[in-house]
Amino acid sequence: MIRSLDDFARIAREKGPKKLAVLAPEDEEFMLAVKTSWQKGYIEPVLLGNTEKMKRVAEKVEFDIGGFETIVGDDRQGIADLGLSMLFSGKLEIVSKGQIPTSYIYRSIIREENRTGSGMTVSVVSFWEVPGLDHLVALTDTGVSIKPDMKTKAEILKNALFVYRLLGYPKPRIAVLSGQREIGGALVSYRDFDLLRKAAAAGDFGECEILDATSFTEIFLGGRDRPVDYVSMNLARMPHILLVPCLDTGNIICKLDFFLDVTRCSLVATSRGPVCIPARSDSSDNIVEQLAMCVVVTDRMKGEVK
Protein backbone atom coordinates (compact mmCIF):
# COMPACT_ATOMS: atom_id res chain seq x y z
CA MET A 1 0.00 0.00 0.00
CA ILE A 2 1.18 3.48 -0.80
CA ARG A 3 0.67 5.59 2.28
CA SER A 4 2.86 8.62 1.69
CA LEU A 5 4.70 10.70 -0.89
CA ASP A 6 7.91 9.05 0.32
CA ASP A 7 6.44 5.74 -0.87
CA PHE A 8 5.95 7.29 -4.32
CA ALA A 9 9.56 8.52 -4.31
CA ARG A 10 10.92 5.12 -3.26
CA ILE A 11 8.95 3.19 -5.87
CA ALA A 12 9.66 5.79 -8.58
CA ARG A 13 13.38 5.18 -8.05
CA GLU A 14 12.80 1.44 -8.60
CA LYS A 15 10.45 1.75 -11.57
CA GLY A 16 12.00 4.74 -13.34
CA PRO A 17 13.11 6.20 -15.55
CA LYS A 18 9.91 6.72 -17.52
CA LYS A 19 9.84 8.72 -20.72
CA LEU A 20 8.06 11.97 -19.99
CA ALA A 21 7.15 15.00 -22.12
CA VAL A 22 7.49 18.32 -20.30
CA LEU A 23 5.32 21.03 -21.81
CA ALA A 24 7.13 24.38 -21.72
CA PRO A 25 9.61 24.05 -18.85
CA GLU A 26 10.43 27.72 -19.32
CA ASP A 27 10.57 28.67 -15.68
CA GLU A 28 13.39 27.91 -13.25
CA GLU A 29 11.22 25.98 -10.78
CA PHE A 30 9.99 23.62 -13.48
CA MET A 31 13.40 23.13 -15.06
CA LEU A 32 14.94 22.50 -11.66
CA ALA A 33 12.24 19.90 -11.00
CA VAL A 34 13.03 18.20 -14.32
CA LYS A 35 16.74 18.19 -13.46
CA THR A 36 16.18 16.72 -10.00
CA SER A 37 13.73 14.09 -11.24
CA TRP A 38 16.18 13.04 -13.94
CA GLN A 39 19.03 12.88 -11.44
CA LYS A 40 16.92 10.72 -9.13
CA GLY A 41 16.23 8.34 -12.00
CA TYR A 42 12.49 8.99 -12.18
CA ILE A 43 12.27 10.32 -15.73
CA GLU A 44 13.85 10.61 -19.14
CA PRO A 45 12.60 14.02 -20.26
CA VAL A 46 11.50 15.14 -23.70
CA LEU A 47 11.41 18.93 -23.65
CA LEU A 48 8.77 20.81 -25.66
CA GLY A 49 8.81 24.58 -25.80
CA ASN A 50 10.70 27.71 -26.73
CA THR A 51 14.34 26.70 -27.19
CA GLU A 52 15.83 29.99 -26.06
CA LYS A 53 13.71 30.18 -22.94
CA MET A 54 14.38 26.53 -22.04
CA LYS A 55 18.12 26.97 -22.58
CA ARG A 56 18.19 30.13 -20.50
CA VAL A 57 16.45 28.59 -17.48
CA ALA A 58 18.44 25.35 -17.85
CA GLU A 59 21.65 27.36 -17.62
CA LYS A 60 20.35 29.17 -14.56
CA VAL A 61 19.72 25.87 -12.75
CA GLU A 62 22.98 24.37 -14.14
CA PHE A 63 21.28 21.63 -16.14
CA ASP A 64 22.80 20.46 -19.41
CA ILE A 65 19.80 19.69 -21.61
CA GLY A 66 21.92 19.08 -24.73
CA GLY A 67 21.52 15.32 -24.49
CA PHE A 68 17.74 15.29 -24.30
CA GLU A 69 15.21 15.22 -27.11
CA THR A 70 13.95 18.75 -27.61
CA ILE A 71 10.94 19.73 -29.68
CA VAL A 72 10.69 23.38 -30.61
CA GLY A 73 7.36 25.14 -30.29
CA ASP A 74 5.98 28.49 -29.25
CA ASP A 75 2.26 27.99 -29.62
CA ARG A 76 0.97 26.91 -26.22
CA GLN A 77 -1.96 24.90 -27.55
CA GLY A 78 0.28 23.33 -30.18
CA ILE A 79 2.74 22.19 -27.51
CA ALA A 80 -0.06 20.71 -25.41
CA ASP A 81 -1.59 18.94 -28.42
CA LEU A 82 1.75 17.46 -29.43
CA GLY A 83 2.63 16.25 -25.94
CA LEU A 84 -0.74 14.57 -25.49
CA SER A 85 -0.68 12.98 -28.95
CA MET A 86 2.70 11.47 -28.06
CA LEU A 87 1.20 10.02 -24.87
CA PHE A 88 -1.84 8.62 -26.64
CA SER A 89 0.24 7.13 -29.46
CA GLY A 90 2.46 5.34 -26.96
CA LYS A 91 5.64 7.28 -27.74
CA LEU A 92 6.02 8.14 -24.10
CA GLU A 93 4.44 7.27 -20.76
CA ILE A 94 3.76 10.54 -18.95
CA VAL A 95 3.12 14.18 -19.80
CA SER A 96 3.85 17.01 -17.42
CA LYS A 97 2.68 20.55 -17.54
CA GLY A 98 5.33 23.26 -17.43
CA GLN A 99 4.73 27.01 -17.61
CA ILE A 100 1.55 26.71 -19.64
CA PRO A 101 -2.11 27.31 -18.72
CA THR A 102 -3.74 24.09 -17.57
CA SER A 103 -6.84 24.72 -19.65
CA TYR A 104 -4.79 24.12 -22.84
CA ILE A 105 -3.76 20.72 -21.53
CA TYR A 106 -7.31 19.75 -20.54
CA ARG A 107 -8.45 20.69 -24.05
CA SER A 108 -5.78 18.45 -25.57
CA ILE A 109 -6.67 15.55 -23.28
CA ILE A 110 -10.37 15.85 -24.11
CA ARG A 111 -9.55 15.86 -27.85
CA GLU A 112 -7.39 12.74 -27.52
CA GLU A 113 -9.96 10.92 -25.39
CA ASN A 114 -12.64 11.78 -27.97
CA ARG A 115 -10.39 10.58 -30.78
CA THR A 116 -9.87 7.22 -29.10
CA GLY A 117 -13.55 6.97 -28.19
CA SER A 118 -12.70 6.10 -24.60
CA GLY A 119 -15.72 8.01 -23.30
CA MET A 120 -13.62 9.01 -20.35
CA THR A 121 -14.52 12.10 -18.34
CA VAL A 122 -11.42 14.16 -17.73
CA SER A 123 -10.91 15.06 -14.09
CA VAL A 124 -8.11 16.00 -11.72
CA VAL A 125 -7.16 14.06 -8.62
CA SER A 126 -5.17 16.04 -6.06
CA PHE A 127 -3.54 14.08 -3.27
CA TRP A 128 -2.90 15.56 0.14
CA GLU A 129 -0.28 14.16 2.44
CA VAL A 130 -1.38 15.13 5.95
CA PRO A 131 1.12 14.68 8.79
CA GLY A 132 0.03 11.99 11.23
CA LEU A 133 -2.43 10.41 8.80
CA ASP A 134 -1.68 6.86 7.65
CA HIS A 135 -2.96 7.37 4.10
CA LEU A 136 -3.04 9.94 1.36
CA VAL A 137 -6.26 11.88 0.75
CA ALA A 138 -7.50 12.29 -2.80
CA LEU A 139 -9.57 15.39 -3.57
CA THR A 140 -11.46 15.43 -6.86
CA ASP A 141 -12.35 17.06 -9.26
CA THR A 142 -10.04 19.96 -8.50
CA GLY A 143 -9.39 21.14 -12.03
CA VAL A 144 -11.80 20.51 -14.90
CA SER A 145 -15.57 20.39 -14.37
CA ILE A 146 -16.88 23.81 -13.33
CA LYS A 147 -20.22 22.62 -11.99
CA PRO A 148 -20.53 18.87 -12.54
CA ASP A 149 -23.97 17.30 -12.47
CA MET A 150 -24.62 14.04 -10.67
CA LYS A 151 -23.79 11.94 -13.74
CA THR A 152 -20.47 13.72 -14.20
CA LYS A 153 -19.70 13.40 -10.49
CA ALA A 154 -20.24 9.66 -10.81
CA GLU A 155 -17.62 9.56 -13.60
CA ILE A 156 -15.25 11.77 -11.61
CA LEU A 157 -15.63 9.41 -8.67
CA LYS A 158 -14.91 6.38 -10.86
CA ASN A 159 -11.69 8.03 -12.04
CA ALA A 160 -10.59 8.74 -8.47
CA LEU A 161 -11.44 5.21 -7.37
CA PHE A 162 -9.39 3.83 -10.27
CA VAL A 163 -6.37 5.89 -9.20
CA TYR A 164 -6.81 5.19 -5.50
CA ARG A 165 -7.08 1.46 -6.04
CA LEU A 166 -3.74 1.63 -7.87
CA LEU A 167 -2.25 2.64 -4.53
CA GLY A 168 -3.29 -0.72 -3.14
CA TYR A 169 -6.64 0.06 -1.50
CA PRO A 170 -9.37 -2.30 -2.75
CA LYS A 171 -12.23 -0.60 -0.86
CA PRO A 172 -11.67 3.14 -0.50
CA ARG A 173 -13.78 5.24 1.87
CA ILE A 174 -15.35 8.30 0.27
CA ALA A 175 -16.94 11.50 1.50
CA VAL A 176 -19.15 13.39 -0.94
CA LEU A 177 -18.76 16.94 0.34
CA SER A 178 -21.47 19.58 0.53
CA GLY A 179 -22.14 22.89 2.23
CA GLN A 180 -25.41 21.44 3.52
CA ARG A 181 -26.17 22.77 6.97
CA GLU A 182 -29.02 23.55 9.35
CA ILE A 183 -30.52 26.31 7.18
CA GLY A 184 -31.00 27.08 3.50
CA GLY A 185 -32.90 23.99 2.31
CA ALA A 186 -31.44 21.08 0.34
CA LEU A 187 -28.40 22.01 -1.72
CA VAL A 188 -27.80 20.42 -5.13
CA SER A 189 -24.52 19.08 -3.76
CA TYR A 190 -26.45 17.34 -0.98
CA ARG A 191 -28.96 15.83 -3.37
CA ASP A 192 -26.03 14.55 -5.44
CA PHE A 193 -24.55 12.99 -2.30
CA ASP A 194 -27.79 11.16 -1.69
CA LEU A 195 -27.95 9.87 -5.27
CA LEU A 196 -24.30 8.83 -5.32
CA ARG A 197 -24.72 6.98 -2.06
CA LYS A 198 -27.63 5.03 -3.53
CA ALA A 199 -25.61 4.31 -6.66
CA ALA A 200 -22.74 3.04 -4.52
CA ALA A 201 -25.11 0.82 -2.56
CA ALA A 202 -26.35 -0.58 -5.88
CA GLY A 203 -22.77 -1.49 -6.77
CA ASP A 204 -22.18 1.16 -9.46
CA PHE A 205 -18.69 1.95 -8.18
CA GLY A 206 -17.51 -1.50 -7.20
CA GLU A 207 -16.04 -2.05 -3.75
CA CYS A 208 -16.11 1.24 -1.84
CA GLU A 209 -17.92 3.00 0.98
CA ILE A 210 -19.57 6.41 0.80
CA LEU A 211 -19.76 7.86 4.29
CA ASP A 212 -22.99 9.20 5.71
CA ALA A 213 -21.33 12.60 6.17
CA THR A 214 -21.00 15.61 3.87
CA SER A 215 -19.18 18.15 6.06
CA PHE A 216 -15.86 18.02 7.87
CA THR A 217 -17.77 18.53 11.13
CA GLU A 218 -19.72 15.34 10.49
CA ILE A 219 -16.68 13.43 9.28
CA PHE A 220 -14.47 14.28 12.24
CA LEU A 221 -17.00 14.70 15.06
CA GLY A 222 -19.53 12.08 13.96
CA GLY A 223 -22.39 14.62 13.80
CA ARG A 224 -23.18 18.31 13.70
CA ASP A 225 -24.33 18.51 17.31
CA ARG A 226 -21.00 17.50 18.86
CA PRO A 227 -18.77 20.24 20.25
CA VAL A 228 -15.53 21.17 18.52
CA ASP A 229 -12.65 20.39 20.85
CA TYR A 230 -9.22 21.55 19.67
CA VAL A 231 -7.40 19.47 22.30
CA SER A 232 -8.79 16.07 21.36
CA MET A 233 -9.27 16.83 17.68
CA ASN A 234 -7.76 14.16 15.45
CA LEU A 235 -8.05 13.34 11.80
CA ALA A 236 -8.17 9.56 12.07
CA ARG A 237 -11.64 9.49 10.50
CA MET A 238 -10.33 11.08 7.30
CA PRO A 239 -11.69 9.19 4.27
CA HIS A 240 -9.49 8.20 1.33
CA ILE A 241 -11.38 10.25 -1.26
CA LEU A 242 -13.11 13.63 -0.93
CA LEU A 243 -15.47 14.32 -3.83
CA VAL A 244 -15.93 18.10 -3.94
CA PRO A 245 -19.14 19.81 -5.11
CA CYS A 246 -17.68 22.09 -7.77
CA LEU A 247 -14.49 23.54 -9.23
CA ASP A 248 -14.42 26.60 -6.97
CA THR A 249 -14.61 24.45 -3.86
CA GLY A 250 -12.15 21.86 -5.11
CA ASN A 251 -9.49 24.27 -6.21
CA ILE A 252 -9.77 26.48 -3.15
CA ILE A 253 -9.70 23.62 -0.64
CA CYS A 254 -6.99 21.56 -2.35
CA LYS A 255 -4.58 24.47 -2.61
CA LEU A 256 -4.82 25.22 1.09
CA ASP A 257 -1.41 23.56 1.22
CA PHE A 258 -0.14 27.13 0.86
CA PHE A 259 -1.43 27.64 4.38
CA LEU A 260 -1.83 24.23 6.02
CA ASP A 261 0.79 21.69 6.97
CA VAL A 262 -0.07 19.42 4.05
CA THR A 263 1.65 18.59 0.76
CA ARG A 264 -0.32 18.44 -2.50
CA CYS A 265 0.28 16.45 -5.69
CA SER A 266 -2.10 16.53 -8.65
CA LEU A 267 -2.62 14.44 -11.76
CA VAL A 268 -5.09 13.61 -14.50
CA ALA A 269 -5.38 9.90 -15.11
CA THR A 270 -6.13 9.66 -18.81
CA SER A 271 -6.96 6.34 -20.44
CA ARG A 272 -3.36 6.15 -21.71
CA GLY A 273 -1.38 7.36 -18.72
CA PRO A 274 -1.05 10.13 -16.18
CA VAL A 275 -0.66 13.80 -16.90
CA CYS A 276 1.18 15.65 -14.17
CA ILE A 277 -0.34 19.08 -13.58
CA PRO A 278 1.50 21.05 -10.94
CA ALA A 279 0.16 24.54 -10.32
CA ARG A 280 2.21 27.31 -11.92
CA SER A 281 2.93 28.53 -8.40
CA ASP A 282 4.28 25.21 -7.06
CA SER A 283 7.89 24.92 -5.86
CA SER A 284 10.40 22.64 -7.62
CA ASP A 285 10.54 20.23 -4.65
CA ASN A 286 6.80 19.82 -4.82
CA ILE A 287 6.89 19.32 -8.60
CA VAL A 288 9.47 16.53 -8.13
CA GLU A 289 7.07 14.81 -5.70
CA GLN A 290 4.30 15.09 -8.27
CA LEU A 291 6.49 13.62 -11.01
CA ALA A 292 7.40 10.68 -8.75
CA MET A 293 3.72 10.05 -8.17
CA CYS A 294 3.05 9.98 -11.92
CA VAL A 295 5.94 7.55 -12.48
CA VAL A 296 4.38 5.14 -10.00
CA VAL A 297 0.86 5.61 -11.36
CA THR A 298 1.96 4.97 -14.96
CA ASP A 299 3.84 1.88 -13.84
CA ARG A 300 0.79 0.51 -12.05
CA MET A 301 -1.58 1.45 -14.87
CA LYS A 302 0.19 -1.02 -17.12
CA GLY A 303 -1.96 -4.09 -17.40
CA GLU A 304 -4.94 -2.31 -15.83
CA VAL A 305 -8.05 -2.14 -18.01
CA LYS A 306 -10.15 0.90 -17.29
Binding site: G179, G184, F216, T217, F259
Partner: protein, 304 residues
Amino acid sequence: MLRFFKDILDAAKEGGAKKLAAPCAEKKDMDLLSKAAGSGLIIPCLIGDGKAIEGMLKGLPLASLEHEIMEEKDPDKALGRSIMLVREGRADMLMQGSVDHQMLMDAVMDARNGLRKGKLTSYVSIFQLPKPEKLILVTDTFINNNPTLAEKQLILEHAVRLADILGIDAPKVAALAAIEQINLNIPSTVDAAILSKMSERKQFGKAIVEGPLDIDCALSEAAAARKGLRSVVTGNVDIYLVPEIDTGHLLAEALVFFGRLETAGAIMGTTNPVILNVPFVSEENRIVEIAIAALMCRKGEDHA
Protein backbone atom coordinates in the same frame (compact mmCIF):
# COMPACT_ATOMS: atom_id res chain seq x y z
CA MET B 1 -6.54 46.94 15.43
CA LEU B 2 -7.71 43.87 17.36
CA ARG B 3 -5.44 40.90 16.68
CA PHE B 4 -6.60 38.23 19.09
CA PHE B 5 -9.90 36.98 20.45
CA LYS B 6 -8.69 38.20 23.85
CA ASP B 7 -8.50 41.71 22.40
CA ILE B 8 -12.14 41.42 21.32
CA LEU B 9 -13.16 40.32 24.81
CA ASP B 10 -11.21 43.14 26.45
CA ALA B 11 -12.60 45.77 24.08
CA ALA B 12 -16.15 44.53 24.57
CA LYS B 13 -15.88 44.63 28.36
CA GLU B 14 -14.92 48.30 28.24
CA GLY B 15 -18.32 49.12 26.78
CA GLY B 16 -20.26 47.81 29.78
CA ALA B 17 -22.82 45.01 30.01
CA LYS B 18 -25.42 44.63 27.24
CA LYS B 19 -28.82 43.02 27.65
CA LEU B 20 -29.01 39.67 25.91
CA ALA B 21 -32.32 37.93 25.19
CA ALA B 22 -32.04 34.13 25.19
CA PRO B 23 -35.12 32.07 24.29
CA CYS B 24 -35.28 28.49 25.57
CA ALA B 25 -31.67 28.40 26.73
CA GLU B 26 -30.16 24.95 27.37
CA LYS B 27 -27.70 23.96 30.06
CA LYS B 28 -24.69 24.60 27.80
CA ASP B 29 -26.11 28.04 26.98
CA MET B 30 -26.55 28.73 30.66
CA ASP B 31 -22.89 27.92 31.33
CA LEU B 32 -21.89 30.32 28.57
CA LEU B 33 -24.24 33.06 29.75
CA SER B 34 -22.96 32.67 33.28
CA LYS B 35 -19.41 33.10 32.06
CA ALA B 36 -20.31 36.09 29.88
CA ALA B 37 -22.29 37.75 32.67
CA GLY B 38 -19.43 37.09 35.10
CA SER B 39 -17.09 38.84 32.67
CA GLY B 40 -19.31 41.91 32.65
CA LEU B 41 -20.29 41.46 29.01
CA ILE B 42 -24.02 40.88 29.40
CA ILE B 43 -27.08 40.88 31.57
CA PRO B 44 -29.07 37.84 30.41
CA CYS B 45 -32.80 37.88 29.96
CA LEU B 46 -33.91 34.24 29.94
CA ILE B 47 -37.21 33.54 28.24
CA GLY B 48 -38.68 30.07 28.67
CA ASP B 49 -39.88 27.61 31.28
CA GLY B 50 -39.12 29.49 34.52
CA LYS B 51 -38.79 26.40 36.69
CA ALA B 52 -36.47 24.67 34.25
CA ILE B 53 -34.36 27.83 33.97
CA GLU B 54 -34.06 28.15 37.73
CA GLY B 55 -33.05 24.49 37.90
CA MET B 56 -30.27 25.03 35.36
CA LEU B 57 -29.08 28.15 37.18
CA LYS B 58 -28.53 26.28 40.44
CA GLY B 59 -24.85 26.24 41.30
CA LEU B 60 -23.91 28.64 38.54
CA PRO B 61 -22.38 32.05 39.30
CA LEU B 62 -25.15 33.57 37.17
CA ALA B 63 -27.67 32.70 39.89
CA SER B 64 -26.19 35.46 42.03
CA LEU B 65 -25.52 37.88 39.17
CA GLU B 66 -28.00 40.28 37.60
CA HIS B 67 -30.39 38.46 35.28
CA GLU B 68 -34.05 38.33 34.39
CA ILE B 69 -36.38 35.38 33.82
CA MET B 70 -39.52 35.66 31.71
CA GLU B 71 -42.04 32.85 31.83
CA GLU B 72 -42.98 31.46 28.43
CA LYS B 73 -43.21 27.69 28.01
CA ASP B 74 -44.09 27.66 24.29
CA PRO B 75 -40.81 27.79 22.27
CA ASP B 76 -42.42 29.69 19.35
CA LYS B 77 -43.78 32.34 21.68
CA ALA B 78 -40.50 32.46 23.63
CA LEU B 79 -38.68 33.29 20.42
CA GLY B 80 -41.30 35.87 19.45
CA ARG B 81 -41.09 37.54 22.87
CA SER B 82 -37.31 37.57 22.71
CA ILE B 83 -37.34 39.30 19.35
CA MET B 84 -39.95 41.76 20.62
CA LEU B 85 -37.69 42.62 23.58
CA VAL B 86 -34.94 43.50 21.13
CA ARG B 87 -37.26 45.41 18.82
CA GLU B 88 -38.55 47.46 21.76
CA GLY B 89 -35.02 48.25 22.93
CA ARG B 90 -35.42 46.29 26.15
CA ALA B 91 -32.63 43.96 25.02
CA ASP B 92 -29.59 44.74 22.89
CA MET B 93 -28.97 41.38 21.28
CA LEU B 94 -30.56 38.01 20.62
CA MET B 95 -29.07 34.58 21.21
CA GLN B 96 -30.31 31.41 19.50
CA GLY B 97 -30.77 29.26 22.59
CA SER B 98 -32.27 25.88 21.76
CA VAL B 99 -34.45 27.28 18.97
CA ASP B 100 -34.10 25.53 15.61
CA HIS B 101 -31.72 27.36 13.24
CA GLN B 102 -34.21 27.80 10.42
CA MET B 103 -36.99 28.84 12.77
CA LEU B 104 -34.72 31.48 14.27
CA MET B 105 -33.62 32.86 10.90
CA ASP B 106 -37.18 32.90 9.56
CA ALA B 107 -38.31 34.87 12.61
CA VAL B 108 -35.33 37.23 12.42
CA MET B 109 -35.94 37.87 8.71
CA ASP B 110 -39.69 38.43 9.13
CA ALA B 111 -40.37 41.77 7.47
CA ARG B 112 -42.97 42.89 10.01
CA ASN B 113 -41.92 41.44 13.32
CA GLY B 114 -38.30 40.45 12.86
CA LEU B 115 -34.92 42.11 13.10
CA ARG B 116 -34.38 42.48 9.40
CA LYS B 117 -32.50 45.58 8.39
CA GLY B 118 -31.95 45.33 4.66
CA LYS B 119 -32.35 42.89 1.83
CA LEU B 120 -30.04 40.23 3.16
CA THR B 121 -28.27 38.85 6.18
CA SER B 122 -24.89 37.17 5.94
CA TYR B 123 -22.54 35.28 8.19
CA VAL B 124 -18.91 36.19 8.70
CA SER B 125 -16.46 33.70 10.23
CA ILE B 126 -13.59 35.33 12.09
CA PHE B 127 -10.38 33.33 12.47
CA GLN B 128 -7.49 34.01 14.79
CA LEU B 129 -4.38 33.61 12.65
CA PRO B 130 -1.22 32.69 14.57
CA LYS B 131 1.24 33.81 11.90
CA PRO B 132 1.07 36.68 11.19
CA GLU B 133 -0.85 37.43 14.35
CA LYS B 134 -4.08 38.90 13.05
CA LEU B 135 -7.76 38.26 12.59
CA ILE B 136 -9.04 37.22 9.18
CA LEU B 137 -12.65 37.20 8.01
CA VAL B 138 -14.24 34.64 5.70
CA THR B 139 -17.72 35.19 4.30
CA ASP B 140 -20.37 33.91 3.67
CA THR B 141 -19.83 30.65 5.51
CA PHE B 142 -23.32 29.87 6.79
CA ILE B 143 -26.31 31.78 5.46
CA ASN B 144 -26.45 32.45 1.71
CA ASN B 145 -26.43 29.46 -0.66
CA ASN B 146 -25.68 30.91 -4.09
CA PRO B 147 -25.48 34.70 -3.82
CA THR B 148 -25.94 36.78 -6.95
CA LEU B 149 -23.44 39.51 -7.75
CA ALA B 150 -25.72 42.10 -6.13
CA GLU B 151 -25.91 39.91 -3.02
CA LYS B 152 -22.15 39.44 -2.99
CA GLN B 153 -21.84 43.22 -2.96
CA LEU B 154 -23.96 43.32 0.21
CA ILE B 155 -22.10 40.40 1.77
CA LEU B 156 -18.83 42.19 1.15
CA GLU B 157 -20.17 45.47 2.54
CA HIS B 158 -21.19 43.59 5.68
CA ALA B 159 -17.72 42.10 6.05
CA VAL B 160 -16.05 45.47 5.53
CA ARG B 161 -18.29 46.90 8.25
CA LEU B 162 -17.35 44.11 10.64
CA ALA B 163 -13.68 44.64 9.80
CA ASP B 164 -14.13 48.28 10.76
CA ILE B 165 -15.67 47.23 14.09
CA LEU B 166 -12.60 45.06 14.67
CA GLY B 167 -10.34 48.00 13.92
CA ILE B 168 -9.14 46.80 10.52
CA ASP B 169 -8.73 50.00 8.55
CA ALA B 170 -8.71 49.70 4.74
CA PRO B 171 -9.16 45.90 4.71
CA LYS B 172 -7.58 43.93 1.91
CA VAL B 173 -10.12 41.63 0.31
CA ALA B 174 -9.57 38.51 -1.80
CA ALA B 175 -12.57 37.80 -4.00
CA LEU B 176 -11.90 34.08 -4.35
CA ALA B 177 -12.47 31.87 -7.37
CA ALA B 178 -11.00 28.68 -8.80
CA ILE B 179 -8.53 30.59 -10.95
CA GLU B 180 -6.95 34.01 -10.97
CA GLN B 181 -7.93 34.79 -14.56
CA ILE B 182 -11.33 35.90 -15.75
CA ASN B 183 -13.02 32.99 -17.46
CA LEU B 184 -16.48 33.77 -18.76
CA ASN B 185 -17.48 30.14 -18.20
CA ILE B 186 -16.66 30.41 -14.49
CA PRO B 187 -19.16 32.88 -12.99
CA SER B 188 -17.18 33.34 -9.77
CA THR B 189 -14.28 34.84 -11.72
CA VAL B 190 -16.55 37.35 -13.44
CA ASP B 191 -18.26 38.38 -10.18
CA ALA B 192 -14.88 38.76 -8.49
CA ALA B 193 -13.58 40.93 -11.31
CA ILE B 194 -16.58 43.23 -11.12
CA LEU B 195 -16.28 43.58 -7.36
CA SER B 196 -12.60 44.35 -7.82
CA LYS B 197 -13.46 47.06 -10.34
CA MET B 198 -16.08 48.47 -7.97
CA SER B 199 -13.40 48.71 -5.33
CA GLU B 200 -11.16 50.64 -7.70
CA ARG B 201 -14.00 53.16 -7.95
CA LYS B 202 -14.11 53.31 -4.13
CA GLN B 203 -17.52 51.65 -3.92
CA PHE B 204 -16.37 49.75 -0.83
CA GLY B 205 -14.83 52.76 0.88
CA LYS B 206 -11.22 52.21 1.83
CA ALA B 207 -11.36 48.43 1.26
CA ILE B 208 -9.08 47.12 -1.49
CA VAL B 209 -10.67 44.23 -3.36
CA GLU B 210 -8.53 42.00 -5.59
CA GLY B 211 -10.23 39.45 -7.76
CA PRO B 212 -10.47 36.95 -9.10
CA LEU B 213 -7.86 35.41 -6.86
CA ASP B 214 -7.27 31.72 -6.45
CA ILE B 215 -6.39 30.67 -2.95
CA ASP B 216 -2.66 30.23 -3.62
CA CYS B 217 -2.37 33.80 -4.90
CA ALA B 218 -4.44 35.03 -1.98
CA LEU B 219 -2.29 33.22 0.57
CA SER B 220 1.14 33.74 -0.94
CA GLU B 221 2.68 36.84 -2.46
CA ALA B 222 5.41 34.64 -3.98
CA ALA B 223 2.90 32.27 -5.58
CA ALA B 224 1.03 35.23 -7.03
CA ALA B 225 4.25 36.74 -8.38
CA ARG B 226 5.04 33.47 -10.16
CA LYS B 227 1.72 33.84 -11.93
CA GLY B 228 2.57 37.42 -12.82
CA LEU B 229 0.12 38.87 -10.32
CA ARG B 230 1.30 41.75 -8.14
CA SER B 231 -1.02 43.34 -5.63
CA VAL B 232 -0.98 44.67 -2.08
CA VAL B 233 -3.68 42.10 -1.30
CA THR B 234 -1.78 38.90 -2.18
CA GLY B 235 -0.25 37.28 0.88
CA ASN B 236 -1.86 39.87 3.15
CA VAL B 237 -5.61 39.28 3.02
CA ASP B 238 -7.98 40.48 5.74
CA ILE B 239 -11.27 39.37 4.17
CA TYR B 240 -11.82 36.27 2.02
CA LEU B 241 -15.02 36.52 -0.01
CA VAL B 242 -16.09 33.06 -1.21
CA PRO B 243 -18.21 32.36 -4.31
CA GLU B 244 -20.96 30.26 -2.71
CA ILE B 245 -21.88 28.22 0.34
CA ASP B 246 -20.34 24.86 -0.61
CA THR B 247 -16.99 26.60 -0.76
CA GLY B 248 -17.58 28.93 2.17
CA HIS B 249 -18.83 26.36 4.62
CA LEU B 250 -16.25 23.73 3.72
CA LEU B 251 -13.40 26.28 3.70
CA ALA B 252 -14.31 27.46 7.19
CA GLU B 253 -14.47 23.86 8.40
CA ALA B 254 -11.15 23.04 6.73
CA LEU B 255 -9.49 25.93 8.56
CA VAL B 256 -10.87 24.59 11.84
CA PHE B 257 -10.16 20.88 11.39
CA PHE B 258 -6.98 20.94 9.30
CA GLY B 259 -5.59 24.34 10.30
CA ARG B 260 -6.81 24.15 13.92
CA LEU B 261 -7.69 27.82 13.75
CA GLU B 262 -9.85 29.21 16.51
CA THR B 263 -13.03 30.70 15.07
CA ALA B 264 -16.06 32.74 16.04
CA GLY B 265 -18.69 34.34 13.86
CA ALA B 266 -21.26 37.07 13.48
CA ILE B 267 -24.50 37.57 11.59
CA MET B 268 -24.56 40.85 9.68
CA GLY B 269 -27.50 42.70 8.20
CA THR B 270 -29.84 42.76 11.21
CA THR B 271 -31.00 45.72 13.30
CA ASN B 272 -29.36 44.22 16.39
CA PRO B 273 -26.78 41.47 16.82
CA VAL B 274 -28.04 37.89 16.59
CA ILE B 275 -25.82 35.10 17.92
CA LEU B 276 -26.20 31.84 16.00
CA ASN B 277 -25.07 28.35 17.02
CA VAL B 278 -22.70 27.29 14.27
CA PRO B 279 -21.43 23.71 14.62
CA PHE B 280 -17.76 24.41 13.89
CA VAL B 281 -17.49 27.07 16.61
CA SER B 282 -16.22 25.62 19.89
CA GLU B 283 -18.02 26.17 23.19
CA GLU B 284 -15.01 28.18 24.40
CA ASN B 285 -15.25 30.62 21.50
CA ARG B 286 -18.96 31.29 21.82
CA ILE B 287 -18.16 33.94 24.43
CA VAL B 288 -16.13 35.69 21.73
CA GLU B 289 -19.28 35.82 19.63
CA ILE B 290 -21.08 37.53 22.50
CA ALA B 291 -18.18 39.98 22.75
CA ILE B 292 -18.36 40.69 19.01
CA ALA B 293 -22.10 41.30 19.38
CA ALA B 294 -21.39 43.70 22.24
CA LEU B 295 -18.88 45.59 20.10
CA MET B 296 -21.47 45.79 17.33
CA CYS B 297 -23.97 47.31 19.80
CA ARG B 298 -21.50 50.07 20.58
CA LYS B 299 -21.55 51.13 16.96
CA GLY B 300 -25.21 52.07 17.32
CA GLU B 301 -27.72 51.54 14.56
CA ASP B 302 -25.08 51.22 11.92
CA HIS B 303 -23.60 48.14 13.55
CA ALA B 304 -24.59 45.73 10.84
